[in-house]
């Protein structure tokens, strides 16, 4: 109750405050009428003091036992060690002494300012070797009760019964061989089957507020990871999405999986309170299945990037790049002048040291092998040439390197099966006023890794996009300065020319600025996003012919499904209107469209690589007719059923409508008289035949001419 209210109430009841003796008021015991006593507030405050407890105290055991004379020296040593790990409170170090012998007892207590510091000091100094015979044993003071209760005799832990897990890959056994996709719009995150036969998505799972920022599939599609304030969580399972594991990392911003999805890397960065400082970065690596944290990395953002603007809050994501292949054996981090390569057996640096490479600016793993490509720009004003090198890990042997002159920038593109590496090199012209581009093509799988230089027909063309054909030997380049650039296709291997790159075709003046190869190769979408407002050209590279041109107006995202059968194009919420997505067939036919306001994200569920051998796949491709018969029949059934259902639905809707209209008509008829009265007796209603159709014959004499026709007989 506000004081004003109280006063008003008192005035109403005729109470004069000055005459009231408050002490004489007795409340019934145990009832406070919801009024909190002042004493209670004080009491609460006291409590909070106590709560800080002993959480900030650690106990250090296995200290040397020293006589009185050496006490101060030992104290000094211990202080020195622990001052590095946190701030010791004033008089926070207490080393008890045997009252009889005046010898120390071999342990001490240290009180830190905060429990976090104490925890940190405990973790860092446990096992610290002061000398050979004195290895620190550090415990939290609060843990002492627990430690006291440890039983003297060891008991074998009880074996927990094995609970079989769900089949995490059940979605692959869908009898219609459909693919899943996840979308986020508004507060909802939804997973759908892409049911192209039914021309609509079939819902699998929907959950509002599933994630607090975004969702991501693991690289083999087993898990869906969601981000929360407390950390990340992975979801999956046989039928619905259940939570499989949580990974604690407060305020996690980004996540990344290792390619074999054994490990999850989480990233968090803290904006510094002082804008001149670098932001603080914390990265944790978790084992996906057990949820155990394998290693964490902390430091300022500088340690995780090579400076310069890029990525999130200074560091470019992913900070740790995983070596190719499913083994998840190595991951590398690039920082100033160093490349740190870690291996996952012990989560420590290979050979216990990082590689020193002066001024390295970019590294890239081969997608299949543990080969690292790196780029070092020119130094000393061109005295030292720029360098692209391939390094074998873990041997750190340089497999191949190439020096390049007057280079402004390089970009490395690995082909998906690790056979080729293309390096786009931007070189300065002689005047240093402009740049032109060329490619250095490495053939990794051939002996000595031959390098080939490729220049475009028109050397001065700007390169807008580059993309390798997945698992193939071809690549596509968008180049040109004109508003409508050209698109060229090259092949590393042709029947006439196995060792040389050759141009297949150039398509002139295309409205495209991005390339999207089908995951199975052969087909590519030349997309004009942004400035081109979502122009799409579906192109068959084998036949070098356009299959279809289309437009998804304002499309922002394009993603092929993992099988290369369908493509999703989406307009996300960067645009205000027309949010939603469209599913196309590989040859550019619209299957269906879904409109969703506030559409944020669309992601196909990846599939693990096929278990079929290359020979078997080839055999299937050869006998496709035989295999497809069954599916064609199914398709036909479905389409028949669909049209039948559609007809029925329409009929039902029409019937329902007719019923409504009849009701309306009846009412309308009933009220006819009332309406007439309202119109002062004027009869004509719209539905009554106001216009009477009369047939009027009208003859008009326009002109009369006489013509004499002579009979010619």
């Amino acid at each position: 109750m506000e004081v004003v209210d109280i006063d008003a109430r008192a005035a109403k009841l005729g109470i004069n405050w000055s005459q009231v003796n408050f002490d004489s008021i007795q409340l019934p015991p145990g009832e406070d009428f919801g009024i909190e006593s002042d004493d209670e507030a004080v009491y609460h405050d006291d409590q909070s003091e106590f709560d800080t407890g002993f959480g900030n105290i650690i106990v250090v055991d296995h200290l040397p036992v020293v006589p009185k004379e050496k006490f101060e020296k030992l104290e000094g040593v211990v202080k020195k060690i622990y001052n590095q790990l946190g701030v010791i409170k004033e008089n926070g170090l207490w080393m008890p002494v045997d009252p009889d012998t005046k010898m120390t007892l071999g342990y001490c207590f240290i009180e830190f300012n905060t429990p976090q510091e104490a925890q940190n000091a405990k973790e860092k100094s446990h096992g610290y070797k002061l000398d050979k015979s004195h290895i620190f044993a550090v415990n939290m003071f609060d843990d002492f009760d627990r430690l006291m209760n440890v039983r003297e005799e060891w008991e074998p832990p009880q074996a927990r019964p094995y609970v079989p897990g769900e089949n995490l890959q059940k979605w692959l056994t869908d009898d219609k061989a459909r693919d899943q996709l996840v979308i986020r719009s508004g507060p909802d995150t939804e997973v759908y089957w892409n049911d192209a036969r039914q021309k609509k998505p079939e819902p699998v799972h929907k959950r509002p507020y599933w994630t607090e920022s975004y969702v991501q599939w693991s690289p083999l599609g087993t898990y869906l990871v969601t981000l929360h304030k407390q950390g990340a969580a992975v979801w999956g399972g046989a039928d619905t999405f259940t939570r499989l594991m949580r990974y604690q990392h407060s305020m996690v911003k980004l996540v990344d999986f290792s390619p074999g999805e054994k490990y999850l890397v989480t990233y968090h960065s803290q904006e510094p309170s002082n804008p001149r400082d670098a932001s603080k970065v914390e990265i944790k690596v978790f084992d996906v299945r057990t949820g155990r944290m394998m290693r964490d990395f902390k430091g300022s953002a500088d340690e995780f990037s090579i400076g310069g603007p890029g990525g999130v809050a200074g560091a470019s994501w992913p900070v740790f790049r995983w070596a190719g292949g499913k083994d998840d054996k190595y991951f590398a981090k690039l920082s100033k002048n160093t490349i740190s390569v870690y291996e996952t057996e012990t989560f420590s640096l290979i050979d216990k040291k990082s590689m020193k490479v002066d001024n390295v600016v970019d590294i890239c793993w081969s997608p299949t092998d543990s080969i690292l490509s790196l780029f070092v720009p020119e130094q000393g004003g061109g005295n030292q040439p720029a360098k692209v090198a391939l390094v074998q890990i873990p041997s750190k042997v340089e497999l191949r390197q190439k020096n390049l002159f007057s280079v402004s920038d390089c970009k490395m593109y690995w082909q998906s099966s690790g056979e080729y590496l293309a390096v786009k090199v931007d070189r300065y012209t002689k005047t240093k006023k402009s740049t032109y581009s060329g490619f250095e093509l490495f053939r990794i799988k051939e002996r000595d890794i031959p390098i080939e230089v490729l220049e475009l027909d028109n050397k001065n063309d700007k390169i807008i996009a580059f993309a390798w054909e997945p698992k193939g030997h071809r690549f596509a380049v968008i180049h040109g300065d004109q508003p409508r650039p050209d698109v060229s296709f090259y092949s590393m291997k042709t029947t006439q020319n196995t060792g040389r790159v050759s141009k297949l075709a150039t398509l002139k003046a295309k409205q495209a600025n991005a390339l999207f190869w089908s995951p199975t190769g052969k087909y590519i979408i030349l997309a004009g996003l942004k400035g081109f407002n979502g122009q799409l050209e579906f192109f068959n590279v084998d036949e070098l012919e356009t299959m279809a041109t289309a437009e998804h107006f304002m499309a922002t995202d394009i993603e092929w499904d993992p099988t290369g059968r369908y493509v999703a194009t989406a307009v996300t919420s960067v645009h205000e209107m027309e949010n939603g997505f469209t599913i196309w067939s590989f040859n550019g036919i619209v299957i269906y469209r879904i409109l969703k306001d506030h559409f944020f994200q669309l992601a196909w569920r990846p599939r693990p690589p096929s278990f079929l051998t290359a020979e078997k796949e080839e055999e299937i491709a050869k006998n496709l007719k035989k295999y497809s018969k069954k599916y064609e029949a199914e398709d036909q059934d479905v389409s028949l059923l669909l049209s039948e259902q559609d007809r029925e639905k329409r009929k039902a809707l029409k019937d329902e409508w007719e019923k409504w209209v009849m009701q309306w008509k009846a009412l309308h008829e009933e009220e006819k008289l009332a309406r007439q009265n309202l119109r002062d007796g004027e009869v004509s209603d719209v539905e009554e035949d106001e216009y009477e159709a009369k047939e009027v014959e009208f003859e008009d004499l326009i002109d009369v001419t006489e013509e004499i026709v002579q009979e010619s007989m």
């Binding site: 205000e576 209107m577 029409k654 309306w664 309202l678």
Partner: protein
């Protein structure tokens, strides 16, 4: 057929209205002069001069003799259609947003906006046979719970027994004209999610269509206020119309005028979109406006329709014969 472009207004269109016979078309715009056109060839017949602010709405009497207009100059005016003479001025202390003649043309419902300390309200006025006898007193004044939200449209229900109102507070309300009591209103579940911009009655007063900024249009039973159909489109809906002849509805709209200049003209989607009234499926669209569509009206014969845009043009479309045979 090629649309007829009618250029007579200097500012964005706000409202279009055909007379009952379908030979005259009245247009209102943010310039101050409502304009009369031949509905057949788009020839301009004349203007009604006298308002001193944007004209938001108009209605014409059944016999095409009287015109009522509501304007931002805080008045509603009665006009003689034939001579263009101003007959009477209703003065309100706030802009008038919508006007509608009742069946029989003896009553008119006028809505006024929230202005300074005046709350948005619905006024019912008696319209005298002889303009000499006209008085400005309201027969009935209705107020919505949130008086600060505009009431964008109020129309008469069947037999003048009810008034249907809709506006910025997203709720459609049905009022009793005898008692002034609120009879029915839409709930959050089925109702619109954002401001309702437009409302259009069926010829027989049995149902009506509302368009909203929530990118949908909804069809309602006028007596029970039950939701019958929902039409979803990608853009905010500014104007709606129903074909009196076929089971078609037309939705017009587009992105906010303020955002138009920053994007491609196609980005606005300034189309008049046709939907099948029963199946709720899109049939087609009529492009042409260089700005959002603010007004739509069907000729009572159902053989032509006109649209008015933010660009200041009225486009008059006579349907090709193909239109009448559309099968979906």
């Amino acid at each position: 057929m090629r649309p007829i472009l009618m250029k007579g207004h200097e500012r964005p269109l706000t409202f279009l209205r055909y007379n009952k016979d379908g030979d005259l078309l009245f247009s209102c715009a943010k310039d101050h002069t409502p304009t009369l056109w031949f509905a057949d060839n788009g020839e301009r017949l004349g203007t009604y001069r006298g308002h001193n602010g944007a004209v938001w709405c108009c209605d014409v009497s059944r016999d095409s003799s009287r015109l009522i207009t509501g304007s931002a100059d805080q008045t509603a005016k009665l006009w003689d259609v034939k001579s263009g003479k101003e007959l009477f001025t209703f003065k309100f202390g706030s802009p008038t947003r919508s006007v509608d003649f009742a069946l029989g043309d003896h009553l008119a419902v006028i809505t006024t906006d929230h202005f300074v300390d005046r709350m948005a309200a619905i006024h019912v006025k008696r319209i005298a046979e002889d303009p000499e006898d006209q008085v400005s007193d309201s027969v009935l004044v209705l107020q919505c719970p949130d008086g600060k939200k505009r009431i964008n449209r109020a129309v008469w229900g069947p037999l003048n027994q009810t008034i249907v109102s809709a506006g910025e507070d997203t709720v459609i309300r049905i009022w009793d004209t005898e008692t002034g009591k609120l009879l029915n209103e839409t709930n959050e579940e089925v109702g619109h999610k954002k401001a309702i911009t437009s409302l259009c009655k069926a010829a027989d007063d049995s149902h009506f269509l509302t368009g909203s900024h929530d990118k949908t249009a909804k069809l309602w039973d006028m007596r029970t206020l039950t939701l019958i159909k929902t039409y979803t489109t990608g853009v905010p809906v500014n104007a709606v119309a129903m074909s009196p002849l076929l089971n078609h509805v037309v939705l017009g709209g587009g992105q906010d005028a303020s955002a138009v200049t920053t994007t491609d003209h196609r980005a606005g989607k300034f189309e008049a979109k046709f939907y099948d009234k029963i199946l709720q499926e899109e049939i087609g669209g009529v492009k042409g406006h260089f700005g959002p569509i603010n007004a739509l009206a069907f000729n009572p014969d159902g053989k032509s329709f006109s649209s008015g845009g933010e660009d200041g043009y009225v486009r008059l479309h006579h349907f090709d014969s193909d239109y009448f045979n559309i099968k979906i």
